[in-house]
């Protein structure tokens, strides 16, 4: 029996001998997004979990504001903020075991940080430094994906490969509401379902793809409803309710690890900042909408819960804030240093070995750098930071 055998799969049967198919009912998402905070179930939430989430959320919010500030200081080329979406970012990271893999999009550096990546490494791409600032194997975090939805089949392939090798590894892949319109979303979901690959797809529905609102992106009852078309369960969750997202993702991860196949989770959230620092969100949305969402802030929701249940006192809150400030200060300091990037590295990773052409071109650049160094030693050598061209 191979891992590809599908006990419940859909087989063509002649209509004369028509058989009932897989029941779609359990695949359909609930009409309401799943919530915990503000419901009776909140009372039984583990205080440790709440405190853990809270620490990450506060740190995550601070990370977002600090990174945005760094764009203004010219220390980041661009930053797509996840302010307002911290619950999804943090829960995605925490739902995974160490051996699992995370597949983030460009907006999900916070998830990578919450998983243990050094913030400077996570921001390398956005700084204008080398494309991927970390070894993906170290924390099992795939490179940040810029071409939308292209990372989803990667997650499926990796999860499938792990299963073939007998490792109980799960991949969690993150994508935006806009990304669900790409063909790669469709193909990834379908491959995952047919192969019963241990993947969890987390769609952060933050209401917009840059300026395009969800109503122009889909006419579906919900994005989670797409799951049934692949034979996969679809789950809908309040994406600003951190324990709820954490619970839904943890369950999906457990199911995937146990061989139950993929799950599609849609988290309803909101991008409180503009698309990136370069975007002007006032061109396409109202202040009122933003304000309404600010009153459903993921950090505050957990803060209120901790207060309500008396799980953290003022000193505790202050300590969390201080830790976040230390992280921000440290990030600021490190980002204020120019990275050391060697132009000659341009030729190092195109192939295992440089081709004859690349050797020639490398020689050309080396000669130019030597000439420039001789001409203006004051400008710093090739091995020193060059700054961005912007």
């Amino acid at each position: 029996m191979t891992v590809l055998e599908q006990p419940g799969a859909y087989r063509p049967t002649p209509p004369p001998a028509w058989q009932p198919r897989t029941d779609p009912a359990p695949l359909l998402p609930d009409a309401e997004p799943y919530r915990l905070l503000g419901t009776p179930a909140a009372d039984s939430l583990d205080p440790e979990l709440l405190r853990l989430l809270h620490g990450h959320l506060v740190r995550g919010r601070r990370y977002n504001t600090q990174a945005t500030a760094l764009t203004r200081q010219g220390r980041l080329a661009v930053y797509p903020s996840s302010a307002g979406q911290e619950a999804c970012e943090v829960a995605a990271a925490l739902a995974l075991e160490d051996r699992d893999w995370l597949f983030p999009s460009y907006r999900d550096t916070l998830a990578a940080v919450a998983r243990g990546l050094d913030p400077v490494q996570a921001l390398t791409l956005l700084r204008g430094d080398w494309h991927t600032g970390y070894d993906p194997h170290e924390h099992r975090v795939a490179p940040l994906a810029t071409p939308l939805a292209t990372q989803l089949p990667h997650a499926v392939g990796l999860a499938h490969a792990a299963r073939l090798k007998g490792d109980d590894v799960v991949a969690l892949a993150m994508v935006g509401d806009g990304g669900t319109s790409e063909g790669d979303f469709h193909e990834a979901l379908n491959f995952a379902a047919v192969w019963r690959a241990p993947v969890v797809f987390l769609v952060q529905n933050n209401g917009f793809a840059i300026s395009v609102p969800l109503s122009k992106q889909t006419a579906a009852p919900s994005l989670a409803h797409k799951a049934v078309g692949y034979g996969v369960p679809g789950r809908l969750v309040d994406g600003n309710d951190a324990p709820a997202v954490y619970q839904v993702l943890t369950e999906a991860v457990r199911r995937a690890r146990a061989g139950g196949g993929p799950t599609l989770v849609e988290a309803i959230t909101y991008r409180v900042d503009a698309h990136t620092n370069a975007d002007d969100a006032t061109r396409y949305r109202s202040d009122a909408e933003v304000t309404a969402w600010r009153s459903h802030d993921p950090v505050e929701l957990v803060e209120r819960e901790l207060t309500r249940r008396g799980l953290l006192d003022d000193d505790g809150f202050a300590a969390v804030r201080e830790a976040a400030e230390r992280m921000a200060a440290d990030l600021r300091e490190q980002m204020n240093q120019d990275p050391a990037l060697d132009p000659m590295e341009l030729f190092d990773h195109v192939y295992v070995r440089r081709t004859a052409q690349l050797r020639e071109q490398a020689e050309q650049l080396r000669a130019e750098l030597v000439a420039a160094g001789a001409a203006g030693a004051a400008h710093g050598g090739a091995h020193h930071g060059e700054g961005t061209d912007r």
Partner: protein, 351 residues
């Protein structure tokens, strides 16, 4: 043709403004022109090239699509089949790749497949190239892919006036046009007014931007300013360089290029795309085929390195700059010691 244009003499304008104006005028003149793409509506595009079009012409004429490039181009094919003239915006160079199957298998050959019954008057606008500090996948120069696909026109402006004129001509073309907009020239400025018919170039005509006698720089799009600067700098070395701006890679205006090279006897092709398998190979090969006996030296190429586009902090090392162009010019064998008899060519520059 230019009813929407007030005849107000020349004013400073950026390339992005000229492109915006071209779209507006085309839409005003021809109700079958429809713009579609990601964020082209309310936002006016990430580079603001479609600014105001939805407001002026309505959502049905300038439409924010779902986020799916194959879907955008594929639906444009159907719209063209029904007599519309779609102008598609791809948000960045690398984000046109999902649409390559629709482009190669349908857009480029639908006319041919149907013996002319289904022309594809589609313009695909693609901001391309680097030099603006974009992170990976935001700075590709993929013109080689489009050049290798018969049935497409490939057009790229390098000046404000050409941006307007070539975009108008592209939209008016009954053949599909890949319209490559050099990102780093979006904010370049010139004194310009949109209604000077003598400035509306046809697709497929190159132009000599600078006359010279020593050698020809053959270039296009983002590398034109580099070549013009290099030509100025070269005067200090005693070289008088001619600069040809191709404007269209397909159809290629061989005549203008070859006339120039035959005059000067030497040529350097300059572009930002990677060299190996890039546009320069075709250009150098073609020039050599047609002008062999006029060449004093092999046609050289100055191009991006054969590497994926670098991160912002390193892109300046990758982009062909003035120095690299001058280095190539210096390698054009100005000494004639290599001829078999040691004789220098004297017959009007030709050997």
């Amino acid at each position: 043709m230019t009813t929407a244009v007030a005849a107000t003499g020349r004013k400073p304008a950026t390339m992005s403004q000229a492109l915006n104006r071209a779209l507006r005028d085309a839409m005003a003149d021809d109700p079958t022109v429809h713009v579609l793409g990601e964020d082209v509506g309310t936002l006016g595009g990430v580079f603001r090239i479609t600014d105001g079009l939805t407001k002026e012409f309505g959502e049905d004429r300038c439409t924010d699509t779902p986020l799916a490039e194959a879907g955008i181009l594929g639906t444009a094919v159907g719209m063209a089949m029904y007599g519309l003239r779609p102008v598609v915006e791809m948000q960045f160079d690398a984000f046109a790749y999902p649409a390559l199957e629709q482009l190669i298998s349908h857009v480029s050959r639908m006319r041919n497949r149907t013996r002319g019954a289904l022309p594809m008057p589609i313009t695909v606008r693609i901001p391309y190239g680097g030099g603006i500090g974009g992170v990976e996948h935001h700075s590709d120069s993929s013109e080689a892919l489009y050049m290798a696909t018969p049935g497409l026109h490939v057009v790229t402006p390098a000046t404000v006036a050409d941006a307007y004129g070539l975009l108008r001509a592209s939209i008016a073309s009954d053949d599909p046009v890949i319209f490559l907009e050099p990102k780093r020239l979006y904010w370049s400025k010139a004194d310009w007014e949109p209604d000077r018919p003598e400035e509306v170039p046809g697709i497929g005509t190159a132009v000599v931007r600078r006359r010279g006698t020593s050698a020809t720089l053959v270039t296009y799009g983002p590398s034109l300013p580099v070549c013009l600067e290099a030509a100025e700098a070269a005067t200090a070395e005693g070289w008088d360089l001619e600069v040809v701006d191709l404007r269209s890679l397909v159809p290629l205006d061989e005549e203008t290029v070859c006339a120039s090279v035959r005059r000067t006897g030497r040529a350097v092709v300059v572009h930002e795309a990677t060299g190996f398998g890039g546009p320069g190979g075709e250009l150098a090969a073609r020039i050599t085929e047609r002008c062999f006996h006029h060449l004093e030296a092999p046609v050289l190429r100055v191009t991006g390195f054969d590497i994926p586009y670098p991160p912002p902090m390193l892109e300046k090392h990758h982009l062909p700059g003035v120095d690299r162009v001058l280095d190539a010019v210096a390698r054009l064998q100005w000494e004639s010691e290599w001829t078999p008899q040691g004789a220098s060519g004297t017959q009007g520059g030709a050997r």
